[in-house]
Amino acid sequence: MTRYLPFILRNTLRNKRRTALTVLSIFISLFLFCTLRTVITSLAASLESASSARLITRRSTSLTFMLPVSYRDRLAQIPGVADASWMTWFGGIYIEERNFFAQFAVDPQRYLELYPEYKLTPEEKDVFRRERTACIVGEKLARKYGFEVGDRITLRGTIFEGVWDFTVCGVAHPATPDLDTNWLLFNGEYLNQRMGDFGQVGAFVLKLDDPARAGDVARTVDATFANSAAETKTETEKAFQMGFISMLGNIQAVIYALGSAIVIAIGLVSMNTMMMAARERTREIAVLKALGFADRTVVGLVLAESLLITLAGGLLGAGLARLVFGLTDFTAGGFFPSFTVTDGTVAQALGIALFLGVVSGVAPAWNAARLHIVDALRHTG
């Protein structure tokens, strides 16, 4: 009931420093919670954006071993494969090692056609096919380093040694915001020539006629090259990326464990606050009850005060997380295609705040309800 609100507010502001510290600790912990959970949702979102309409074929033994480029034509013949292209992880360094981003040497003829979700003009694609040292940068990478069409980019090779100069011929724009564009593609023929026509590529990308038949096609592909010098492992693009992410360990479990620990710790803080606040006011609660306040009304007052404090912290934490990561376009150095605090995360944070409010209010509320008026008036104050 709104008529009690001024009284509840006055009570929360009674010990301003204690209330402020409690709100602050809830704010910090729920800000952290939102950040950690957004790590999970962002990883999940980047997986969602990976396609199951494409297959990735790589060497069965390890990603570091390569496949003969000649496989491409045989792959394109396999029933269910609409088109085939290839790419090679380059792993060069741009100025300094900490400027990490993905670089691929790709099939200049077909690769771009297999990834229509990255928008380029026909002219840009045309230059990319023709120019030996042309490269295309993703929108996010371009924004980060200020790359524009015509700029020179120099990479120092690690897997493929030497100094490699490229000229930007286009900037790729993602069709949807959750797509990662923190990468550079360059003409794979250039790599092949400089490496003395070695004829090896890192992986093939296969476009499927029918995504529903991905499993069948993948098995056919691997069977085709079974018992050859270079056996293959084929999986959907999504499964391929999932494998990458699982290499990072069970992030999700760690994050949830961390999150729970934080929430429990903060729960104890707010519980203590409410216990202290209620204990100091034993006499006042007795007076209210003498005046005719029913037990459920004093219970409501104590719970409302507790909820006010925890929800204030929760709103601040979730709100600020949303604002900060929304405004700054934070991507953890390009690790995440997009880092957006989802509505679900905000709702969970507020849910936790609500839970904390109830949990820390319930004991003092129970005490207030049980409080014996005469004893409390006699023995306190």
Binding site: F7, L13, R283, A294, V374
Partner: protein
Amino acid sequence: MENLAGDRPIITLRGVSKTYRRDTIAVPVLAALDLDVAAGEFLALMGPSGSGKSTILNLVSGIDTPTAGRVVVAGVDLGGLDGAALAAFRARHVGFIFQSYNLIPVLTAFQNVELPLLLTSLDRRQRRQHVLDVLEVVGLNDRSDHFPRQLSGGQEQRVAIARAIVSDPSLLVADEPTGDLDAASAAEILDLIGRLNREFGKTVVMVTHDPRAAERAHRVLHLDKGVLVEAVRREQP
């Protein structure tokens, strides 16, 4: 049974006993006590410390329950009420005046007086009018925005009295209302309580150690060793 206080009793105690338990020892305070208070009466309770004066007030005002016996106040038999019903009874029928005022320190005089009205169905405007009216009665309308710590003891007690009467209860219970006050403030408070009795028809039951306070009452009862003895009876005006 003879009606000790004439007609229309607002308080009737019959065979009331109260025994406290301290660990395993029973401490009998009141035993088979009878008391009638007429509507509109001003009754003073005196007696040595620990004789059970506050206990009687607590039973009459429904914040404590007797070990045995019947307590009927304003036509309500308190023995039949549960916690919620007792709370509703207190809100409707009883105004409390404490020795140490018991105002809520974070609320202004106005807000303290308004508290009992939050339990009623009155809207904001009506509550405001009632609060201003009673602050006028106790002579503190210029202090309505002051916090308790900004008031003198006498002023605090007057705010507490305003709070006790704002919901217009028929009964005022006062436990040593002047116990913490100097002589001048005490006299003012006693004047005020007397006026509430005379002009507003409030029944007053007041516990006091102060003979000058007791002089204001129509009737003074002495409680000693669990027995009530009538000491003084004056004509009701």
